[in-house]
């Protein structure tokens, strides 16, 4: 009874601990995520408490199909855990399933952290209780779409918190006016570059006669860069090398027959050059490890295991069996009883004892030697 009580107590304790450990205080990394990360960020939605954060979305008044636009999320009244980490979602519904902008036909071209995903994590500075981040997105179809924002963060008592925008933010996508200078529909801005080398940008446009290129570093200082034409609606420019893993933002001002257009700020993150290795060598070594270790384990196991089954040429067990039978036979069955000594039986001996051990007596093993 006592052991059962202990078992129930331990199981209950483990189940309780699972709720405390459901959140990921270190974050889940920027990625494409449905609302609640499909349960991967804060575990089951039922364990979340409601966030006090106030979220609001904003965008330019006019959005054209196929032309990048900026969607900005402002979060205020933020209360976080000691890690000050928050996760922000851009969504197109709040069902928790197939609710990313990509699911609704939108393309995320750039995000505030230098990627192109709808879920971003940000670490607030001490005392900071509001923030604002932007996504550059592009619609592929006409019509209206309702966007939502959501937030994940921790709290003082280790509880996970979740919140969404109170209402959806509806945007309407309009057809592109004739001859509007714009980026080419298939142009995808880069989001990453390597450290210590200048970045050459090739920009493709449509209905554009000239462009101006602007970029700004994290301190907000805006600079211009020289742009050269490399053909019809094709341009090339260079951004100076980054010496540290920081981000820069860039945009172009497009001029042509139609009204002048300014693109959103695209974010470009600098990172160390990618790590390279010969994949064939890795796979070869991995399989070598597999076979070597399995082979060594089995070989040693055979060596250490008592496998006494003999081969068909090994007659050792038969010989041992015969020897055992030989040893088991009492000597009295092989040898006849010795003749009685002239003085008769030794003192206190019986006739049966003489028959069995008389030879030993005569050999001097009993009572001081032969009579």
């Amino acid at each position: 009874m006592k052991s059962r009580f202990h078992t129930v107590f331990v199981l209950s304790l483990l189940l309780t601990c699972s709720a405390f450990g459901a959140a990921e205080p270190g974050g889940n990394g920027d990625s494409i995520q449905d609302m609640q990360c499909g349960g991967a960020c804060h575990g089951d939605a039922s364990i979340n408490e409601t966030s006090s954060a106030i979220l609001s979305l904003s965008s330019p008044e006019t959005i054209y199909v196929g032309i990048p636009t900026t969607l900005t999320l402002t979060a205020t009244n933020l209360e976080t855990s000691s890690t000050r980490l928050i996760g922000l979602f851009l969504l197109t519904d709040t069902t928790g399933h197939s609710d990313t902008p990509q699911d609704a036909g939108w393309e995320v071209l750039s995000d505030a952290n230098g990627g192109a995903v709808n879920y971003l994590e940000q670490t607030l500075t001490p005392g900071q209780n509001e923030t604002s981040i932007s996504w550059v997105i592009r619609a592929s179809t006409l019509g209206s779409t309702t966007f939502y924002a959501a937030i994940h963060h921790g709290g003082g008592d280790s509880s996970p918190f979740f919140g969404t925008t109170a209402t959806g933010f509806e945007v309407s996508v309009e057809p592109v006016p004739e001859n509007l200078p714009r980026l080419a529909a298939d142009f995808t801005p880069p989001t990453l570059r390597t450290l210590d080398s200048p970045t050459e940008l090739n920009i493709q446009t449509q209905f554009t006669d000239s462009i101006q290129f602007e970029w700004k570093s994290e301190d907000g200082l805006i600079s211009n860069a020289l742009v050269n034409s490399t053909g019809d609606n094709s341009w090339i420019t260079t951004i100076p090398a980054a010496l540290q893993p920081t981000t820069v933002q860039w945009r172009v001002i497009l001029e042509g027959e139609g009204p002048e257009q300014t693109t959103p700020w695209f974010t470009l993150a600098a990172e160390e050059s990618s790590w390279e290795v010969s994949e064939n060598a890795v796979y070869l070594q991995a399989f070598a490890l597999l076979f070597m270790i399995a082979g060594i384990v089995i070989t040693l196991q055979i060596r250490f295991t008592s496998t006494s089954t003999p081969s068909k040429y090994d007659e050792t067990p038969l010989i041992l069996e015969e020897l055992a039978l030989t040893d088991a036979q009492p000597p009295s069955q092989e040898l006849a009883p010795p003749p009685l000594p002239a003085t008769g039986l030794p003192t206190d001996w019986t006739k049966a004892q003489w028959d069995a051990y008389g030879h030993d007596y005569l050999a001097g093993k009993y009572g001081g030697g032969q009579v």
Binding site: G29, L289, G295, I298, T305
Partner: protein, 191 residues
């Protein structure tokens, strides 16, 4: 359509869960056979649980490796952590394979001597340890933190052999497997 990221989460949870139970069972088997834990009736139970869960984890491991490769950001093995994950998971695969083949072909004889008991339990526990290290490396790769960070494991360092050494190791390992297999067959009860 299930994304490779989701499939990787599912398969790794299967692998880690199964291997964790196997690790616990192998530990108990070791204690039981060494006489430290005196519950003879548990011997058979944990022997079966250990090997069944190890086999289950082993079946799920290739799916975890393949889904992990396809869900990793970027092209191919572009991080030392991914390479170490590959080495650790294949090492664990080797330990588990050797342990299971031994138990299958040698039967209960693997528990017959103290050396054999220690070796068999150790190989099972080494498989579990390798898989848990792989999972820890995965946590470090995706979230930048892991429960095993307290040990400051060098996930960023890769020990890559020259190709010739790997080829020799591969041939040597395959030869050992073949010879061991023949030896186990020659001493089987069928013979």
């Amino acid at each position: 359509m299930i994304s490779s990221e989701t499939l990787h989460v599912v398969t790794t949870e299967l692998v880690v869960g199964a291997f964790s139970v196997a690790g616990l069972s192998f530990t108990l088997c070791l204690l039981l056979h060494l006489g430290i834990l005196k519950q003879p009736s548990w011997t058979s139970v944990f022997d079966h649980v250990a090997h069944f869960t190890l086999a289950f984890g082993l079946v799920a491991t290739p799916f975890a490796i393949l889904s992990g490769l396809s869900s990793a950001p970027g092209e191919g093995l572009n991080s030392p952590i991914l390479v170490n994950k590959m080495f650790l998971s294949m090492t664990g695969f080797g330990f588990a394979l050797g342990c299971l083949i031994s138990r299958w072909r040698l039967g209960g004889k693997v528990w017959s001597t103290t050396k054999s008991v220690v070796l068999h339990s150790s190989s099972g526990l080494a498989a579990v340890g390798s898989m848990l290290l792989t999972a820890s490396a995965g946590g470090t790769f995706t979230r930048g933190e892991s429960l095993l960070d307290i040990f400051h494991l060098p996930y960023e360092q890769v020990l890559l052999f020259p190709v010739l050494v790997s080829v020799i190791g591969l041939l040597l390992g395959a030869t050992m497997l073949v010879l061991s297999w023949k030896r186990m067959n020659s001493s089987s009860t069928v013979h």
